[in-house]
Symmetry: none
Subunit: 238 residues, 2 copies
């Protein structure tokens, strides 16, 4: 009848907590090396297996990075580490693949509008780089997957809004997880790849000319055709 302690605390959790505190409090800075597992075990008075489980947990939490033969190092936390769990949560709720594309449309049109107002020389340069990358990919028959994502990401980055950038990171992770396969078939369709490259150019020009409305429309149009093409591909399945 002891309601105070709901579940027995596991040993490795204590270890996790101790190390976590050191990191959060700054005693252990990113890049610092932890004591070797064997020494940690001795120092904390637990077995190496307990220490190992703790370290495994901390790696999963994104706080550590372990190099075999070398040691465990404190890691700099980035948003990417949260995307996997985030994706697995959202994926279960998503009924329709197009929800992701639609969300992208919302996010990217808004970002493009801001980008048109704020893009700096370096942003435009980056956009142009990825634009050229994609054209090259198309011309040489390569996969445009990477250059396409990069371009879209650049648009959002050009908005200079860190929150939007992070949300876009989430969406990108979601996309990879969700429709990697169907995407393949889409990008293999040559006419569409060419149309895409063209539409990317339109987006780029709109942002460069600083016209928010035009930029918004260009992105909306681009994703509209993407969604339509996805629908068509899906239609041929059934």
């Amino acid at each position: 009848m002891d309601l105070t302690r709901k579940k027995r605390t596991r040993l490795y959790e204590d270890v996790v907590e101790q190390i976590r505190r050191l990191i959060v409090e700054g005693t252990l800075a990113p890049g610092d090396q932890l004591l070797p597992e064997r020494q940690l075990a001795e120092k904390l008075g637990v077995s190496r297996s307990a220490v190992r489980e703790a370290l495994t947990s901390l790696v999963s939490l994104g706080l550590l990075e372990i190099t075999p033969g070398s040691g465990a190092y404190v890691k700099e936390i980035k948003i990417d580490q949260l995307i996997d769990p985030l994706a697995s949560i959202m994926l279960k709720e998503i009924n329709d693949v197009f929800d992701i594309l639609e969300a992208r449309q919302v996010l990217e049109t808004g970002s493009a509008r801001l980008a048109a107002q704020r893009a700096e020389r370096t942003d435009l340069y980056e956009l142009h780089e990825f634009l050229r990358d994609m054209e090259n990919d198309v011309n040489e028959g390569r996969d445009t997957d990477e250059s396409d994502s990069q371009f879209h990401f650049s648009v959002v980055r050009a908005s200079h809004n860190t929150v939007l950038i992070n949300l876009m990171t989430v969406l990108m992770g979601l996309m990879k997880e969700y429709y990697g396969p169907s995407r393949k078939r889409l990008v293999e369709n040559r006419p569409y790849r060419e149309m895409w490259a063209l539409q990317h150019t339109e987006i780029y020009e709109a942002i460069k000319s600083g016209d928010p409305e035009q930029a918004t429309d260009a992105v909306a149009k681009h994703l509209d055709t993407t969604i339509k093409e996805f629908r068509r591909l899906q239609g041929t399945d059934e």
Copy 2:
């Protein structure tokens, strides 16, 4: 000089990935029990310690829950659990409080546009409820914090896009974390609360009438005034 494989894959990571896929793909539903560690080890042809590290990792990722003496169970996870870590990561990168509001503007205007096209009777009813809640709060001098958030959330829900809804959840968590204090002063300002209630009505009417453009504009205007008022309040600080 082998650039293809940056780091050797650890055994337990494979196990993590296998189990994760089963969960994400739905083969393992929340509440399901996994095989005992010893059986898993045998089945996968690895040692029990490898399995244990994999399970430890999955627990840290929030996908499993383990009860000593009983077994490992697939956990039902909600997005809320990830908001805290997500917020702590994003907060470090956010330079400007207004990035959050701006992101909300992007997300909510897009959602409102969709809501105008898709809102069903139940959605409109819900919106109307929260509208009335807020009016009551204003009239009786109560805090409008809750009813305000609820209304905005309802707009996004009426878009019937689960991805947008989840992103909005993230933003809401971020808001709470970031500007709880300044927000208080804002909602204490009576004239603004009244204007807000009025603008909410406009949003509601626009969605009800099924006019996407009008809905978009109404939300944009509403958040514009919010942002301006925030700026004004911040200006008085310094």
